[in-house]
């Protein structure tokens, strides 16, 4: 029997050794050294909370996926918060008339498979996403009517209507250029397995939900890639991600919970870097019908009752900024007067409630997702307590994300719901179009002819300055009408190894060549 036991054990051990070999058996970083070790290593390791979704750049809406893709695919233009639109694949561009834009491509740009980038590739790429309504990014590209090839390096983009935000659209998710010939001859599945872009890095290996490894592309048209190898690791558990950055297992860890900031700051060799993000937390309120929130005084009272500053300080450890608009700095059309400010006046809130006929108190339903956003449950509980202070009893309904999003999509929420919105367009249009009469129906039911006119006019206004003014004015009215009460903008928090110079971007993109050794 003893013999049987030991031989069984031996078989187990052999099996396990076999399994490890099949996984490649390579020894990866994270060997538990000090963060200061390997300070000169030309290998960069970045940890995110999730793996990339796919290499189908048109069929995802995941910021962290785009953050990886930007190293493999180039856009025609890049949107720089300081310089505005800067050249990437496009040498120059011009807005010819309301519906026409002319672009000239850089010459000598090659894809990872050796193919040269031409206007045909641009036509193929943009028309794919502009015409296929089953792609997740269709909504942001359907404004494009046609791409006309003028020569190898010149093309026109025609839009259905005048489209002032076209450049914003062309510098975000789904705008990477795809190799037409490769995809047409090898098929889409082959491309998904072995993608080819024009970017500084190409795919070396992708082990799903584990790591994605990039290597430099020698024929890159721009500056020579800086890293010998870039690894994007997927580590879903927050505390594990923090531990990896503490031990030097990864160089950069994204989405650090505020409660772990101190742990990182206390450890030598690593620090925390944070930056504002595009995400704004808000309450959406029903502005019509039998809902108590249909009364503007009630909406104002809710706004006045919530101390946004206190939520940011106590729950986010200061990693956020109170705001009264969703169009925050860095976006076209931002109204900076409504940023970094709040209206908090619980006494006046009580008065307003009394005026509205709720001197004996008011009951509202507040729906919120649980576990979706940073400290969402805690924030809602704090808001509930603040509302209680002025006499509003909020019946809070915390929902797991998938049921929340189902009810959200069906527009089934009652008085108020809590949500965060991002803005990958970096333009006020995306942020405000949800408050147009058509889109607001069934959600906030917001209907103010003046705002409607401003938003509709701005949407097709080709005069950039006037357009910004229209959007700013609209935000002022919205801040008073309160179909959405904006709470605070959330910061992105990163844990970073001290060997690196790393400045996070508002877009949360991780251009690895902008991360440098000290």
């Amino acid at each position: 029997m003893k013999k049987v036991f030991w031989s069984t054990l031996l078989i187990f051990v052999l099996l396990i050794a076999g399994c490890s070999n099949s996984s490649g058996g390579e020894n990866v970083e994270g060997n538990g050294g000090d963060p200061e070790e390997d300070a000169d290593s030309k290998k960069l390791v970045i940890a995110s909370g999730n793996d990339i979704v796919s290499f189908d750049i048109h069929d995802h809406n995941n910021t962290s996926t785009e953050a990886v893709h930007v190293n493999m695919f180039n856009y025609l233009v890049r949107n720089d918060p300081e310089e505005g639109f800067v050249s990437d694949l496009a040498e120059s561009w011009e807005n010819v008339d309301e519906n026409t834009w002319t672009f000239t491509l850089k010459e000598g740009v090659t894809f990872h498979n050796g193919e040269e980038l031409t206007a045909e590739d641009v036509k193929f790429t943009l028309e794919r996403v502009a015409k296929d309504d089953t792609l997740l990014e269709y909504g942001s590209y359907q404004q494009i009517d046609e791409v006309e090839v003028l020569s190898d390096y010149e093309f026109n983009i025609y839009t259905h209507e005048s489209e002032p935000a076209l450049l914003n659209r062309l510098s975000r998710i789904g705008s990477g250029m795809l190799p037409k010939d490769y995809i047409e001859s090898e098929g889409w599945d082959a491309f998904l397995k072995d993608p080819a872009g024009t970017g500084p890095y190409k795919l070396k290996e992708w082990k799903k939900d584990d790591r994605l490894i990039l290597e430099p592309f020698d024929d890159y048209f721009g500056e020579e890639p800086k890293w010998e190898e870039v690894v994007f690791r997927s580590i879903p558990e927050d505390s594990t991600r923090v531990s990896e950055v503490l031990t030097g297992g990864v160089d950069v860890a994204v989405n650090i919970p505020p409660t772990d900031i101190e742990r990182i700051e206390d450890k030598e060799g690593v620090s925390v870097v944070n930056s504002p993000s595009q995400r704004v937390m808000l309450l959406a309120l029903r502005t019509q019908g039998d809902y108590p929130t249909a009364d503007p005084k009630v909406r104002e009272a809710i706004d006045l009752a919530i101390d946004k500053e206190a939520i940011v300080d106590s729950l986010l450890e200061g990693n956020g900024t109170p705001t009264r608009t969703r169009v925050t700095p860095g976006n076209v059309g931002a109204n900076e007067e409504l940023y970094d400010t709040q209206v908090y006046d619980p006494e006046k809130a009580k008065e307003l409630l009394a005026e509205a006929g709720y001197e004996d108190g008011l009951n509202i339903t507040l729906s919120a997702p649980n576990g979706r956003y940073l400290k969402d449950k805690e924030s809602v509980e704090l808001i509930q307590a603040m509302l209680q202070e002025v006499g509003i009893t909020a019946d809070v309904e915390m929902l797991e994300w998938s049921s929340f999003s189902t009810r959200y999509a069906e527009k089934e929420f009652e008085d108020v719901f809590f949500i965060a919105y991002g803005n990958s367009m970096f333009d006020a249009s995306l942020a405000l179009q949800r408050l147009t009469k058509e889109q607001a129906a069934g959600e906030t039911d917001y209907d103010n002819p003046e705002t409607e006119q401003l938003i509709q006019d701005a949407m097709s206004n080709m005069d950039p300055d006037e357009r910004v003014e229209q959007y700013q004015k609209a935000q002022e009215i919205i801040a008073e009408d309160r179909p959405q009460i904006y709470l605070y903008q959330i910061n992105s928090i990163y844990g970073v190894n001290d060997r690196l110079d790393f400045t996070p971007k508002l877009s949360e993109m991780l251009y690895v060549d902008e991360i440098t050794l000290k």
């Binding site: 029997m1 003893k2 036991f5 054990l9 187990f12 051990v13 099996l15 396990i16 399994c19 490890s20 099949s22 996984s23 490649g24 058996g25 390579e26 020894n27 990866v28 994270g30 538990g32 979704v53 796919s54 189908d56 809406n61 309504d133 089953t134 997740l136 269709y138 909504g139 599945d189 998904l192 082990k207 799903k208 939900d209 584990d210 790591r211 690791r233 997927s234 580590i235 879903p236 558990e237 505390s239 594990t240 531990s243 990896e244 503490l246 031990t247 297992g249 797991e400 998938s402 049921s403 999003s405 189902t406 959200y408 999509a409 069906e410 949500i419 919105y421 991002g422 995306l430 889109q439």
Partner: protein
């Protein structure tokens, strides 16, 4: 063998029922389209996507389509990865099997000697310590143990890598986290099974013949005590699979558990269905194997 094949056929209705239950559950608990599309999408975009994925068809049509394809071995495509769902699950199998086997080895190495020793030294301080430890081990949630081990052994002492899969060192912490609960369960079982056998007549006979105690314990008693242990080892497979769901997430271990959790979160239905199907087959098979081994070891056991 005949019994094995017969039992295998009997599991077909069970598998069928599992596909039905999982199919309904993933559909009634949330809408995949609203999870895929961004918060700012319009109703038209949502509707187009829903139509293209076939979610507008009545539920029974969707189920018959699904079953029709399943019989052909087609579990459908993952909408997250845009690739064959079954392949995705199978790609992950080695990582999970590796972790499961390692935890089982740890559990066996720990529980067999401790269980036997504490049975022999019954009611001693050692016995008390081991049984106490077993209760503690069983009570500790494996994700908590995992996080604690990461903090002490990987971050503070820097003995092991924090997470990921690669070398044998990467395997140690997740295997311990997952193996501890099983080891605890098995230690208690081996102890009580040994105690029962040590009381029996044939042991007394063996002792009275003047056999050395080591032989009595290791050969006569342990061999008989092993029978229930084999059953429990197989039954622990389901515990193991439940454990890998969380342990894999804590250690960023790219196995079926992590795949399944993420698929559930994103309502990636084809992947959830394929993963649960494969897990069900694993549990059924391990139970069958346990039954067969049991019969081999103890010919007195008969099944109808």
């Amino acid at each position: 063998m005949k019994y094995f094949v017969k039992s295998l056929i009997k599991t077909i209705p069970v598998l069928f029922l599992i596909t039905l239950i999982v199919f309904i559950l993933v559909r009634v608990t949330g809408d995949p389209v609203s999870l895929m599309i961004s918060e700012t999408a319009t109703d038209e975009e949502r509707e187009a996507l829903r139509e293209s994925l076939g979610y507008n068809d009545p539920l029974y049509t969707q189920y018959f389509d699904y079953m029709g394809n399943l019989i052909k071995g087609d579990f459908g495509n993952s909408h997250r990865y845009e690739t064959d769902a079954l392949n995705l699950v199978i790609e992950r199998l080695p990582a999970t099997i590796e972790l499961a086997i390692a935890s089982m080895i740890i559990a066996i190495i720990v529980s067999v000697p401790l269980g036997i020793m504490s049975a022999i030294k019954r009611n001693s301080f050692f016995d008390l310590f081991i049984t106490g430890g077993a209760v503690l081990g069983k009570a500790m949630p494996n994700f908590w143990l995992g996080i604690m081990m990461i903090l002490f052994l990987a971050v503070n002492l820097e003995m092991f890598p924090v997470s990921g899969r690669g070398s044998l060192l990467h395997l140690v912490l997740p295997a311990i986290a997952l193996g501890t609960g099983i080891a605890a369960e098995m230690t208690r079982l081996i102890r009580s099974s040994m105690l029962e056998i040590l009381e029996q007549d044939f042991i007394r006979t063996a002792r009275s013949k003047g056999l050395r105690e080591a032989i009595v314990v290791n050969i006569h008693a342990f061999r008989n005590a092993l029978i229930p242990v084999i059953t429990i080892t197989a039954l622990q497979t389901s515990t193991l699979i439940g454990g890998t769901l969380i342990t894999e997430t804590v250690f960023a271990w790219p196995g079926i558990g992590q795949l399944l959790i993420q698929a559930v979160n994103l309502r990636d239905m084809a992947v959830v269905q394929a993963a649960v199907f494969i897990i069900a087959i694993a549990v059924i098979l391990s139970n069958l194997i346990a039954d067969s081994v049991y019969r081999l070891l103890d010919p007195r056991i008969k099944y109808d």
